[in-house]
């Protein structure tokens, strides 16, 4: 970690003089992830215990899953980890522009994963009749994967905040209002794009990948599509930095701590994917 080069955001007392040489934020994150291991451990145990104990109303689990979709979203989440690693790497080299792109990529991939999960949940509820209280499998499935989804959502929110922070002007000129607007636009884009994406998936499901599907999508999801498009343009406009920014190499440890969290959430998903989905195919 570079120390004195960019006096900007280095907290002299708290980081570069640590006893072990490991930055506090990183150590904090490692300890938190140890705690989170126990958290997911308890959830996964609950799922396995009920899976191994016969419970009433057990649904046809293999008929429920669409392994293609979940494999795809798993792949997307894995790739988001790659982008996250690149964000850390570019930040360490002081390339703020590249860092932004990588953060944005991670955000988009995280959102795609979330959209897949939203789709999966709504599909299971509406088409397959699996609800939170229809069976014990439903309870443990939604609780476990839903908690993981919450972790991803929190990670995305954190990424968005970090992304916005990269525009904080170095001279201290006001930016809070602009950043809040930025955040609101992000929220609109997130909700609208997930809605439009789901509309698209449903349309393709009903009509195949045809012109008819496209017109159905346009018909049903026009407001969402427009909101997404306008939001994206607004994001680009808001993201144009007019001045030198404070964000730099010194913040690499912030990005790295966030990355640790993101990779952890990714690893947990691999375990969940194996335990909840793949084991069923044994």
């Amino acid at each position: 970690m570079s120390t004195h080069a960019a006096a900007g955001a280095i907290d002299h007392h708290h980081d570069h003089t640590t006893t072990t040489g490991i930055p506090n934020k990183k150590l904090f994150m490692w300890a938190f992830l140890a705690s989170d291991c126990m958290f997911f451990g308890a959830l996964i145990s609950t799922h396995l215990i009920y899976r191994l104990h016969p419970t009433p109303n057990q649904p046809d689990i293999l008929g429920l899953f669409s392994l293609e979709l979940t494999s795809f979203s798993t792949f997307i989440l894995l790739m988001s980890s790659l982008l996250m690693a690149l964000a850390v790497n570019t930040c360490q080299k002081g390339k703020v522009g590249a860092t932004r792109k990588m953060l944005l990529g991670t955000i988009v991939f995280g959102l795609i994963f979330l959209a897949c999960q939203v789709y999966e949940f709504s599909h299971f509820v509406h088409a397959k009749g699996l609800t939170l209280n229809s069976s014990m499998f439903g309870s443990t499935f939604y609780t476990l994967t839903g908690t993981h989804g919450c972790h991803v959502a929190i990670g995305v929110l954190w990424l968005v905040l970090m992304y916005i922070r990269t525009f904080k002007p170095a001279d201290g000129s006001p930016w809070i209002l602009k950043s809040v607007i930025h955040l609101l636009v992000f929220a609109v884009v997130t909700v609208a794009s997930i809605k439009a994406l789901l509309g698209g998936v449903h349309a393709i499901q009903d009509h195949g990948a045809t012109a008819e599907a496209f017109s159905t999508l346009l018909h049903h999801e026009l407001p969402a599509l427009i909101a997404t498009a306008v939001g994206l343009i607004a994001l680009v406009v808001l993201a144009r930095p007019s001045k030198a920014v404070e964000f730099g190499e010194a913040n690499a440890v912030d990005v790295e701590s966030m990355g640790l969290y993101w990779h952890f959430v990714d690893i947990v998903w691999i375990v969940i994917f194996t335990v909840v989905y793949l084991l069923e195919y044994l």
């Binding site: 002299h12 007392h13 904090f28 140890a34 126990m38 308890a42 809070i176 955040l183």
Partner: protein, 648 residues
């Protein structure tokens, strides 16, 4: 405070040349050093420690009052003093209050106040997060206790919250609906506070030690803080999951613990005790740490077998995760599991016994000074040992089958939790009072309070051993007159009243001492650890004028005997600090409080199923966290050669 010393620069802990920024009014950092705002916005570990201490002592009195009501109800057979429903609420809230709102935060008070001083740090690693942990603790405490003031009533399903007692099916009948929701929500919030605080302590102890303070030179209290913090971060997630599943059962119609739909109430017990047993050590390890500081000081000898004390502390923490099922011997886990957990539980007595012998070894041949803190510490040794003996009795599964849910168990855990934890915490208050407030408790009054508490405690709980062996069950509001329990119950109630008087004396003496007590010098007891090297009592905001350099395990003893070496180190450290622009201190902040208030609003509305309010609370919390992130760590410098900043 001069402008130079208060250069407020976001993100800059920077050098003197850093430009002064224009800041949005929203992000202006509060600077009040006295008055209510200084307490609401504080990030100073000492002030936060005091806040924890005051709240914990308040709830200690509340929990004690609840206990007195329980004891009054049980004084005579077939008593009708309080209703059975109120009795259920009282024993639930007495346990919850004492564990989560009194003993844990009182330990946290010492963690906060003493641990950074003991390792030679100026503050904890994340000062604002530390403030947040306190405010969240207060929110949890409020949520848990709301029930006393509203129609739904206080939580009433026991501190263990066993399903299905806590399920909606039963709580309609036995527990009023919202009470269990309050319990679930309150505990979740307290869990957040504990985990956040513990993560902070772990980072602080590992990363912010003074030069030369190796792990094997850490004071034992700091070691126990570290082990306790690890226990908290690894055990609380289990109860969090259990509470989440219970909340899903109660609010969203799942059936995790509902037998009719394939749920397993035993799963609750497993998840609960995987947390609940380490929790026992979360309560006792800090007490052991305090006693390990007090005994050597008043025996005028170094602690006997320091490494063994540390490693047995770690062993207790480690084994503590492998014994949870001894709370469940009577649930029918099968012989193999029962035998294994029985054996592991007995194994825990080994490191505990090792510690006991080390403490005795410390006293052996020492020049003992019988001060008030020493009396409390010796009381701890004796009574914790008695509690430990009955603990070994429980660990034998066949014996446990007889003792389960009897007053024998009540006697056991009060001997370890009052005779152990509380006595050590009371000893700690007496021991560090001169450091924290610059005044010393009168020995005559301190000893009076000790003897009354000691007598009251033993008169209350010793007879319970016999009550238990004679078959009196726990958690019953009434008993029949011809069971042979009358005399012992009456004695216990009288003892509880004496204990109450003792605690009252203790509190009165403390309040008197705070205002009128004898003023003291900064090394009142001739101690051996770094917290006593602060330049004044109470310690200044920046803790040490110069960060100490540590050469030996008993750092302060070394300083006293190597004055020349110490002076040389201090000059070198002072020079290094000056090159960094002076002593760096973190700025105060409003946002930990704002975030906690958001959590409070959200929690209260969520319990009442008013989702719009819950979301509003969430928004407030999010705004608090957002502005917290936006204002940056901040900080300012104190220059000791600057007359203006010397003031504080």
């Amino acid at each position: 405070m001069s402008a130079q010393s208060q250069t407020q620069s976001a993100g800059h802990a920077g050098h003197a040349a850093a430009p002064v920024e224009k800041r949005s009014w929203l992000l202006t950092r509060p600077t009040a050093k006295t008055g209510i705002i200084s307490w609401l916005t504080t990030v100073d570990h000492k002030k936060i420690g005091l806040l924890y201490g005051m709240s914990a002592l308040f709830f200690f009195l509340v929990g004690g009052f609840e206990a007195l009501l329980i004891r009054l109800q049980l004084a005579v057979p077939n008593n009708t003093l309080i209703s059975h429903q109120l009795y259920n609420e009282l024993f639930t809230m007495h346990a919850t209050t004492m564990i989560f709102l009194a003993v844990m935060p009182l330990s946290a008070a010492f963690f906060n106040y003493m641990m950074p001083l003991q390792i030679g740090a100026r503050d904890v690693a994340f000062p604002r997060l530390n403030g947040f942990a306190f405010w969240v603790f207060l929110v949890g405490a409020i949520v848990l206790n709301i029930g006393w003031f509203v129609k739904s009533g206080a939580p009433d399903a026991g501190w263990f919250g066993y399903a299905p007692l806590t399920s909606t099916a039963y709580s309609n009948q036995f527990a009023k609906d919202m009470s269990t929701d309050l319990w679930v929500m309150g505990l979740q919030i307290l869990g957040v506070s504990s985990v956040v605080g513990s993560l902070n302590f772990i980072v602080t102890i590992i990363n912010m030690r003074a030069p030369g303070m190796t792990m094997m030179r850490l004071p034992v209290f700091t070691w126990m803080t570290l082990i306790t913090a690890f226990l908290i971060i690894l055990s609380f997630p289990a109860i969090t999951i259990a509470l989440v599943e219970l909340m899903m059962d109660r609010s969203f119609g799942t059936s995790f613990f509902d037998v009719s739909n394939g749920g397993l109430p035993i799963l609750w017990q497993h998840l609960f005790w995987i947390f609940g047993h380490p929790e026992v050590y979360i309560l006792i390890l800090p007490a052991m740490g305090i006693v390990s500081e007090i005994l050597p000081t008043f025996a005028r000898k170094p602690l006997f077998g320091y490494p063994i004390i540390v490693f047995s502390g770690a062993t207790i923490g480690f084994l503590g995760f492998g014994v949870w099922s001894h709370h469940m011997f009577t649930t029918g886990m099968g012989t193999v599991a029962t035998a294994a957990f029985s054996l592991l539980t007995m194994a825990i007595a080994v490191p505990t016994g090792v510690k006991m012998f080390n403490w005795i070894g410390t006293l052996w041949g020492g020049t003992l000074r019988m001060t008030t803190p020493m009396m409390f510490a010796l009381g701890f040794l004796w009574m914790f040992m008695m509690g430990g003996f009955s603990g070994v009795m429980h660990s034998a599964a066949p014996a446990d089958a007889q003792q389960q849910d009897s007053y024998f168990v009540v006697a056991h855990f009060h001997y370890v939790l009052i005779g152990g934890s509380v006595f050590a915490l009371l000893a700690g208050i007496q021991y560090w009072f001169p450091l924290i407030f610059g005044r010393k408790v009168s020995e005559a009054w301190g000893k009076t309070s000790f003897w009354v508490i000691f007598a009251g405690f033993n008169i209350t709980f010793f007879p319970m051993h016999f009550l238990g062996l004679n078959g009196m069950p726990r958690r019953t509001a009434v008993y029949d007159g011809n069971m042979g329990w009358n005399e012992a119950n009456m004695i216990a109630t009288i003892g509880a009243l004496i204990l109450g008087v003792g605690v009252a004396i203790y509190f009165c003496v403390m309040v008197y001492t705070y205002f009128k007590g004898e003023k003291t010098t900064h090394d009142e007891w001739g101690a051996r650890t770094l917290e006593w090297t602060v330049p004044s009592t109470p310690p200044p905001e920046h803790n040490f004028d110069v960060i100490p350099t540590v050469h030996a395990r008993d750092a302060f003893w070394y300083e006293k005997t190597h004055v020349e070496q110490t002076a040389k180190d201090k000059a070198a450290s002072a020079l290094a600090e000056q090159s960094h622009g002076g002593i760096h201190m973190p700025s105060q902040s409003w946002f930990p409080l704002v975030a906690a208030i958001g959590l409070l609003i959200g929690a209260i509305f969520f319990v009442n199923h008013i989702m719009i309010g819950a979301i509003a609370g969430g928004v407030v919390m999010f705004l608090g966290v957002y502005l917290w992130a936006a204002e940056g760590p901040g900080g300012y410098h104190i220059h000791l050669d600057d007359k203006n900043s010397k003031k504080h």
